[in-house]
């Protein structure tokens, strides 16, 4: 029902055909040239439809040679699958850069276990830029959980005294929060546990147990927000 201006029968083929984009229009192909000029001038440049693959696949050697289509080609090209599908082209998909930055914001979500709590929580370490900010959030979590606890815990706001922040690092060891620089902590932290300080007294190796205790106290102070 729609007027068909040119025959597209040269196009794809059977459903089994390779999902390659370079479809062959051959005879129906329109080329750029002045009226009356024949095809394939000596210059040899093909003005056929610029397939996406020509733009994106640097291995084919783009005929344009201008760097406008920036591509990071991190794809596998096995089993005839279109490699271009995984490559990234500047400005595609067309999403505002503000929105793009929001989406690409990596999040480092780690589980937080609070001793005695019925369920775990999660925090996104990416949104904090220092221990202070993280510990503030952890303190809030403590308040949520422990205020439902018994009266002993509610005495004089000293709830936080009961807990110490520890974390499991990439090697599976349980460490005290606060020892290493923030960025290092963020990269190596797998999950966090707010441990009852009565249990935590044994933390720290014999060689730096003094430092551990000092850090422990500092830690507790920080959690209290002092």
């Amino acid at each position: 029902m729609y007027a068909v201006a040119m025959s597209n029968d040269a196009t794809a083929d059977s459903p089994e055909s390779d999902a390659s984009i370079t479809m062959n229009f051959d005879d129906t192909e329109l080329t750029l040239g002045l009226p009356g000029e024949g095809r394939s001038p000596a210059g040899g440049k093909s003005y056929a439809k610029r397939g996406f693959i020509e733009t994106v696949d640097l291995n084919l050697g783009s005929s344009r040679g201008n760097a406008n289509t920036h591509v990071s080609n991190n794809s596998e090209s096995q089993n005839g699958k279109l490699p271009a599908a995984k490559a990234q082209v500047t400005g595609w998909p067309p999403v505002r850069s503000f929105r793009k930055k929001e989406l690409e914001r990596s999040s480092k979500l780690v589980k937080v276990a609070v001793d005695g709590a019925p369920y775990l929580r999660k925090v996104d370490l990416e949104i904090y830029s220092s221990y202070e900010e993280l510990l503030k959030t952890l303190e809030k979590m403590l308040t949520c959980f422990t205020l439902q606890g018994n009266d002993r815990n509610k005495v004089g706001g000293r709830v936080a005294m009961e807990y110490v922040a520890t974390y499991e690092d990439k090697e599976g060891d349980w460490m005290l929060v606060g020892d290493v620089p923030w960025k290092m902590f963020m990269e190596s932290c797998n999950r966090i546990r707010l441990m009852k300080s009565s249990e935590a007294m044994g933390l720290g190796t014999p060689t730096n147990s003094c430092i551990s205790i000092r850090k422990l106290k500092q830690n507790i102070k920080r959690i209290q927000g002092v």
């Binding site: 055909s17 329109l30 750029l32 056929a48 067309p94 949520c144």
Partner: protein
């Protein structure tokens, strides 16, 4: 005959009649009737819309419209949104503020899109216009929270401060505490796009002394307990943007919030949820049945069943912005719940192209079947079929805006492996009121033939990786009589298409062509023929040698009509031919 009749009325009466004519198009038409009407119209025009800030100079705007109170300005071309325009291309606000201040324009409202706004310009603005009321910045950049502080501190009658998706350098805001105690006139405050901390106490106090506040959009730094306090102060809110919605659902603070929300019976528009504990969403359910607008496109934390449950409460929704993690099934729920839906935007949640979360043609078909009032669509999807588009066209002939984006820009119909020409052809043939169209997927010249034949009302067209030859572009230029903006990237359109009808571009606002086949010579020919056009070549990597071979391909060309010739603020990498 007419002249006799109109002389019967003094100018004041005609002016009063003109007061009822508010649309820019109508006022422009009125001004062309005769000299007398031109004069009356220009002296009474208060709202001016300038779609391209380089089409005219601020001095000439003031000269023609001395009573100007409200200005809308757009700067960079649309494709700047997608990083196709280099950083320092232009679109600078300062000269406009400077000129307006110098001539003591009584500016009250300023709406900007894709402009470069410096702190200096905001400071000058805040000091120069005593009656300044409304500042709306969309997709702008170049300013910091210091600029906002100046606006807060100096604009005594400020009613509206609306920041949408701007890149703002955050100097960790005490800007909000710069609103003086005497400032009680705020109606709309939107700072959702700011990344840094905000002075929460100052914010609460500001809300408390703003009885007219109707629209409030918070950023991520405002936690749930503060939200609750704010809502206590402003139960009259109509539009709410939630920053952080994270809390233990068993806590007192959360329960307080639940109760407070029940008092907010006027909320019709909801957005944000920049971080969220899904189980807290229950608190929102009671107000969902009144919502007409819901924007969850920045809330990846809401998905799956939580999302569906939320939507099932929103029967009156007219506008929905969502992420594609809603899935086809979720869109089915939208289709069966939101019968009043007019505008739908589905954004991609995974830009790496994993395709896991994406929606397909199924979701769109369901929506078209279930939502008869739909007229505006933005749909990012994994795939699309001709059959689906044909069905959508049959179901919904009301589209005014139809933008479809397949994540792979040249993906054919996966069922037939054919181009999507027929599908889009069906859309343009069925939707006679279509004004804006964006295409994607595998497309040949055929689709442009259909567009030229049927899209009679089309004003804006966006094309990427499509077409076979110059014929494609020519079909569009010849057929679409109302075309105003045409933007093309990575298509095989060259000089023949560009130069066939050079007069056409003077009837349009602008043309963008990047990574196409146009040559330097072709652009030069056009520029020489049409002095009313600024033909800009953006040469950021210095690839083009302007003294050499005119057969060089031009990487990026942006042309637009202008009354003031080549702009004087073009950076070195922009050459106006």
């Amino acid at each position: 005959m007419l002249r006799k009749k109109m002389n019967y009325f003094p100018d004041e009466v005609i002016e009063h009649v003109f007061d009822f004519i508010t649309s820019h198009k109508d006022r422009n038409a009125v001004s062309l009737v005769c000299k007398s009407w031109y004069k009356i119209e220009r002296m009474s025009r208060q709202r001016v819309f300038i779609g391209n800030c380089y089409a005219i100079s601020p001095e000439r705007v003031i000269a023609r419209f001395p009573e100007l109170k409200s200005l809308t300005l757009k700067g960079k071309p649309h494709f700047a949104d997608f990083s196709l325009v280099p950083q320092d291309w232009g679109g600078i606000l300062y000269p406009w503020i400077e000129a307006f201040a110098k001539r003591r324009v009584g500016l009250e409202e300023l709406r900007l899109k894709r402009m470069v706004v410096s702190d200096e310009s905001l400071e000058l603005l805040s000091r120069s216009f005593g009656n300044f009321k409304a500042l709306v910045l969309v997709s702008c950049e170049g300013f910091t929270t210091d600029g906002l502080a100046a606006v807060a501190a100096n604009c005594r009658s400020l009613r509206e401060l609306d920041l949408q998706e701007n890149e703002v350098e955050d100097h960790k805001g005490n800007w909000i505490s710069r609103f003086p105690e005497s400032c009680t006139s705020l109606v709309s405050l939107n700072f959702a796009c700011l990344k840094g901390d905000i002075n929460l106490a100052a914010l609460e106090k500001l809300v408390a002394r703003s009885p007219n506040l109707k629209s409030l959009r918070l950023n991520r730094a405002v936690p749930l307990d503060v939200l609750q306090k704010i809502l206590m102060r402003a139960p009259q809110l109509v539009d709410l943007g939630i920053g952080s919605f994270v809390h233990d659902p068993a806590s007192d603070a959360y329960n307080k919030l639940k109760a407070t929300i029940l008092r907010c019976k006027s909320i019709r528009s909801l957005s944000g949820f920049l971080e969220v504990t899904p189980r807290c969403l229950q608190a929102i359910h009671p107000i969902c049945h009144n919502l007409t607008s819901l924007n969850l496109s920045y809330a990846p934390g809401i998905h799956g069943n939580d999302l569906i449950k939320l939507i099932q409460h929103c029967r009156k929704l007219e506008r929905l912005w969502i992420l594609d993690c809603i899935g086809d099934k979720g869109l089915g729920v939208v289709a069966s719940t939101c019968k009043e839906l007019q505008e739908l935007r589905v954004f991609p949640s995974d830009l790496q192209g994993g395709g896991n979360a994406a929606v397909t043609e199924e979701g769109l078909v369901a929506i078209s079947a279930g939502c008869p009032k739909l007229h505006s669509l933005l749909y990012f999807c994994y795939q699309m079929t001709n059959a689906a588009l044909i069905t959508v066209a049959k179901n919904c002939s009301n589209f005014t805006r139809f933008r479809l984006c397949t994540l792979d820009p040249v993906k054919p119909d996966p069922v037939t492996m054919r181009p999507l020409d027929e599908g889009f052809g069906a859309i343009v043939q069925s939707c006679k009121r279509l004004r804006r169209l964006s295409l994607s997927g595998l497309l040949t010249d055929q689709v442009f033939l259909y567009i030229g034949m049927y899209a009679e009302q089309l004003e804006m067209l966006s094309i990427a990786f499509a077409g076979n030859s110059d014929k494609g572009m020519l079909y569009v230029l010849n057929g679409c009589k109302k075309l105003r903006k045409l933007e093309i990237r990575d298509c095989p359109f060259g000089d023949t298409a560009l130069l066939t009808d050079v007069g056409k571009y003077e009837t349009m606002r602008s043309l963008w062509m990047s990574s196409c086949e146009v040559t330097l010579g072709g652009c030069q020919t056009l520029a020489e023929d049409r002095p009313m056009l600024n033909v800009e070549i953006i040469n950021e990597d210095g690839q083009i040698d302007f003294s050499a071979d005119e057969k060089q391909k031009v990487g990026k060309m942006y042309l637009y009509r202008s009354l003031v010739g080549p702009r004087k603020d073009a950076p070195a990498f922009v050459r106006t031919l």
